[in-house]
Symmetry: D2
Subunit: 407 residues, 4 copies
């Protein structure tokens, strides 16, 4: 098969992940594979394991799997829970739904706090349910930090406080698949027990690696958890990691890429990475507003800085629009998932990304709207440019301030 | 971290996997990541799924995981079995032992037919045990085709006949991690229900993908199997594969590599690939015999064509020897695993490999033996050259004949 | 040295060459070097030499040098002329001036028809001078097709007609360094004797290769030309090329890239390539007009489709503006050369390039103008979007029509 | 065209150049091309220009051309000489002959001191001729340091002394194309005026760059030299180099590779690089002797450490042998050139190369000799292994000693 028959120029990969992989990461993953039990590999393993925690802002172990993010969802549950355990999950959107279904397949009993797919998880509802759970039947609370299907961010510190106010011992598990290394996140400070992440978003890698950052409490729970597990078992991995190795053959070449991605992220500095995403989130939303279209996320305090889901005007099919944009401008936009199918398109603005690529992406949306005869006002690109120049410094300053005060 | 500080020339990666990845595969995996839900990805997916079966010689579905081979071991078991099920496993070596332990962790009851780590699985012992199992408590028979820790090949058609002679309904599962695309293997013709494989050996890819080829009988069993499973579930993957997609985000860039590796293997032709490995197995064994060293595999009918484990003379540490070879000649040899630690070293001769690289590898072993003052006779490289020239045509012809008469 | 310390996202290389090299070309040039006298190389050589002529629209030999474009300028002259020969050259800008100086260094006597750097070569002036040259002292007429320093295209068929009208036997040499594979060009149909080209513009390669397409008349002239030449000698190269080889060691890896670039250009089709550049030229000029800035090229019939040079308002330094754009938006714009230094900046819109990258580039210019407080009107990006959508189809149709009626 | 249809494993490129390019260099050259007038390029240029001299062991300028080595031959002559100048050249083999022909094409008058293609340049003969040249008609003495067609090294310090003893003012020019960064060479200490070099041998790059290291005397001569020159002109290049730039567009991506190759060479250390080549030269010659074949180089003091030319026994065609080796073992050996055609084959053992690759190469020759039924004794590989182990330490020590006593 040929992958290189693209029309002229580079493809614009503006889905909310997989994201654009930097050349330095692509070049890292094409290095010759090495002996996964030799001294050179150990050096690689230790280089990664010694730095990966900083991305989660944790001093706890981060377990790196050769698996997609779905595997890391499964790992979080099977390492800590037992058959029939109750799990409280918040319906933020499609991915929350998938995680819930996965929990069911594993023999757990998820309770799904209903949501309208336009808001984040409700800390109040979680508090109420936990306060009600006098005998602590609920063993874990699971929340998606940035719901990739909707572009809504849940207030993780708020949920933590809700659990604490209920004095409930449930483990707290957070999916950061589309927020890690894009939107501020702090595993330790926010009291999360298991953070689930994937390689193909803010980490700027191809898909194929996923992660569990695990608190001491989670590791303690894993000693008594009865769901069967082998590949996902934290114990053997953490033990082997001490020397830079894995108990099974790890995905060497993706690890080369991870090492290079860590270099790049730590060179830029996480707060700068977050600010950059905030800039691009602001600019994108300015464009959507100028077009007169509606942002799916209903609460400005919960806007996502890694993607923006945009509602199509009634009578217009989002997927027909996406197809036109792909064919005419060689840009991939995110589709609406499950109940949002056809109703929204999603603009990814995360990963290895800069102002001019964003402007190209927004121009592609604006021209696509025109060509697809979707009712809208012009001026979105203009608004984004104003946001990135005139108003940009203020916005960034505000965002930086926000970043430095983690709840 | 720097990976490019090697001394002059190329590293000789002569462990029995991960193997040397061809440049065309490395270059394929460094292409930009694409939308895993877009039309270009579907084309890639269908290109792979339409051809991968030919490597297993099967018309049945082959499930491709983003995971290491250990994940595919787990997948084979959790898709087909229920908690407490009995599984008959054959102790061929370290990897058989690991698979058995994994079964235990999953809550199965493996019976381990004992072995001396120098022979393949005994079809007779398997027949005897199954014949004895009147009420069919045993739900699966699990055999490692090519035991990577010992270089011994088990007779899979023979085990199939043993199961059939016992008229036993157990599923037949075979680990081909270090034999697929190196040593003749035929999923359909040999009546295997689940074939487990990995990317990093004969498929010439980096680690990170693994495989289950699954018979109709295995898929039927999965409908009633009660071990929890989600990520590993065949059902959702096979359903999504119909359109070239996966239910979770697949490891796009490794799939690029798989597509390129399929190109290369199918261009060469599997029988030619097998013959090439037979040539190199013969030549390596000729060298070991000339050195006066002992091949771990005790039965010539069971010699592996993908690796050769060599016993160190008493009083000599195999790992000290390996260290010397690594430091002096920049060649990685395989270590002795668990009870073979320090007692054997393993020469990998599989994957993307040719006569001259083999000669370089054998010269490195011969020079290493001299420098490490390991008692041996010179002449191993000479013997291998004779095997590859004078006697080579006969040997290859013989091997080709063998190849064309499966079971 | 590290080249990968860029800020997030991809650099926008919007100089008028070197241009953005497609990944498939970059990946081609990193293949292992091969024996330049072996059969595999011959296959590569013949693949290139059998197709390169189609890019020049010629059936005559195209000589490929390992050298920069300057080398190909020299080659054109030393192969055809003798010490002291008169050469008629047209002052279109900086590169015409450099070619003239090179002719002087080689011991030729160039006559330089003066120009204002805002117009193309005057066919009338050329005709007048040639008509005057009764004894045919002038041995060659040299014109730059697309003057890279100014963004002005000269009318090559018009110059040809001028020469013919004067019944003058001078050789006709054309520099297409920044027009080949971007702007319509026809070596044979337009009666050019030597076409000079380079790899790093429309051919989408890194610099390091350059070209002479040579007519039969030029080859005949080379038999009597007395300027010393060795490396540049057409005779030995054309002779060796018959079998796919070169008389000296050719630049193997850049040739890999050339082969891949030919694949890409011929897949798209040269008329489509030209139309695409016309679209982008139109859109860029629409933006410049909307900003209220002045295009350096004074004659709309001579607008370049590969770059646009923009005059800075008086009192504003183009290089200070370029520096701001580079630092703030990671975009390289072309500098003003020699007498245009500080007065113009140049936007390259050629090579492997598409609508959205153009929009990113124009947005960078527009935001840069704002941040640099250069007097301008907003709306350039908007105008370009209108050009690419509403009016685009008409414009393209018109351009295609133009393309199909050479000379 | 497809370049990746090789049979399994890596090609053995054992011609005496182009040599095997290390992955880190290949990966460097596939980086995106940048603005050759921007600050990032200047950093690259200065990084190279600040270190390239150390490879020539000079403090003088080294001029880097986008051209093959033939171009650098031409550059050396046209920068320093005038039409009709006499040049004394030594007939060491095919490449000396090509350089002489090039001098003739440029209008110089080379005198060719005859040689038998089995010895280096005779310092005595040079001295005698110069002593005879009372009126100093001879303007330059040109010697090939390592004659690539024969594997014979000329004694450059000896020639220098010969010139000095004759008190002759001729410039001294040395071709180090196949010796630089392989065999000890010292531009300054050995009093060379122009050193000619290429990228594709010891520098481990693809072809496409070439070099002139130029003494102050040579630069002074260039002020009065009358051969026309433009592209090759040292003056403009050296001037532009002061800021890290070139007067014409340089071959950016090959320069990336040069920067990486300098990293690798300087990490290993030039004396270690020379010692490594000496080891491999010794081992190769030990093999040839064991085979009972004749080394073309007749004087052991002049053996080349970068290649070995081997005489075929009478009645056997070297090219038929090479073809067999290429087809059977996927190894390229060097052909016999001009009068040596069919009579010798050449084994390249230079560049990015190590012990085991050498052993693979020698095994390929030994097996090829057997298969081609060329009369020889077995045992060449054995002899080389003995050389690399038993005797290796002594040999290396000896070589190191030699290395530290230049001239």
């Amino acid at each position: 098969m040929r992958y290189d028959s693209h029309p002229a120029g580079r493809h614009f990969l503006q889905i909310p992940g997989p994201t654009n992989v930097p050349d330095r990461v692509l070049r890292a993953i094409d290095r010759p594979t090495i002996d996964h039990r030799g001294p050179e590999f150990a050096e690689l393993g230790l280089s990664i394991l010694g730095r990966i925690g900083s991305i989660f802002d944790t001093r706890e172990p981060v377990v790196v799997y050769a698996a997609s993010g779905t595997g890391a969802w499964e790992a979080a549950l099977v390492n800590t829970l037992s058959p029939g355990d109750r799990v409280l999950m918040a319906e933020t959107g499609h991915f929350a739904l998938l995680w819930k279904r996965l929990a069911e397949r594993l023999g757990l009993q998820p309770e799904f706090l209903p949501g309208d797919w336009r808001h984040g998880a409700s800390a109040e509802a979680i508090h109420a349910r936990l306060a009600d759970d006098r005998d602590h039947a609920i063993k874990a609370v699971c929340v998606v930090h940035n719901e990739t299907s909707t572009g809504v961010v849940s207030d993780i510190p708020g949920v933590r406080r809700a659990i604490d106010r209920a004095s409930h011992p449930a483990l707290f598990m957070v999916d950061t698949i589309s927020s890690l290394a894009s939107i501020e996140y702090r595993h330790d400070a926010w009291g999360v027990d298991v953070t689930v992440a994937g390689s193909q978003k803010g980490l700027m890698l191809p898909p194929g690696l996923s992660f569990n950052a695990v608190s001491e409490k989670a590791r303690a729970a894993s000693k008594h958890a009865k769901l069967p597990r082998a590949y996902w078992g934290w114990d053997e991995i953490i033990a082997a990691n001490a020397n830079g190795y894995w108990p099974w053959t790890p995905a060497t070449n993706l690890l080369y890429g991870l090492d290079a991605a860590l270099d790049q992220l730590l060179e830029e500095g996480l707060p700068n990475v977050w600010s950059r995403h905030a800039r691009h989130g602001n600019a994108t939303r300015a464009a959507v507003r100028a077009w007169g279209l509606e942002i799916l996320c209903a609460n400005p305090a919960e806007y996502s800085n890694s993607l923006t889901a945009v509602l199509m005007p009634a009578g217009h099919d989002a997927d027909a629009f996406r197809k036109l944009v792909l064919e005419r401008f060689d840009m991939s936009l995110g589709t609406g998932l499950s109940k949002l199918a056809g109703k929204v398109f999603r603009i990814g603005h995360l990963g290895d990304f800069n102002d001019l690529t964003l402007m190209g992406a927004l121009a592609g949306v604006e021209m696509g709207l025109a060509l697809a005869k979707v009712p809208h006002r012009p001026g979105g690109v203009d608004a984004a440019m104003r946001e990135l120049t005139g108003g940009a410094s203020d916005a960034t300053a505000k965002q930086r301030a926000a970043v430095s005060e983690p709840a």
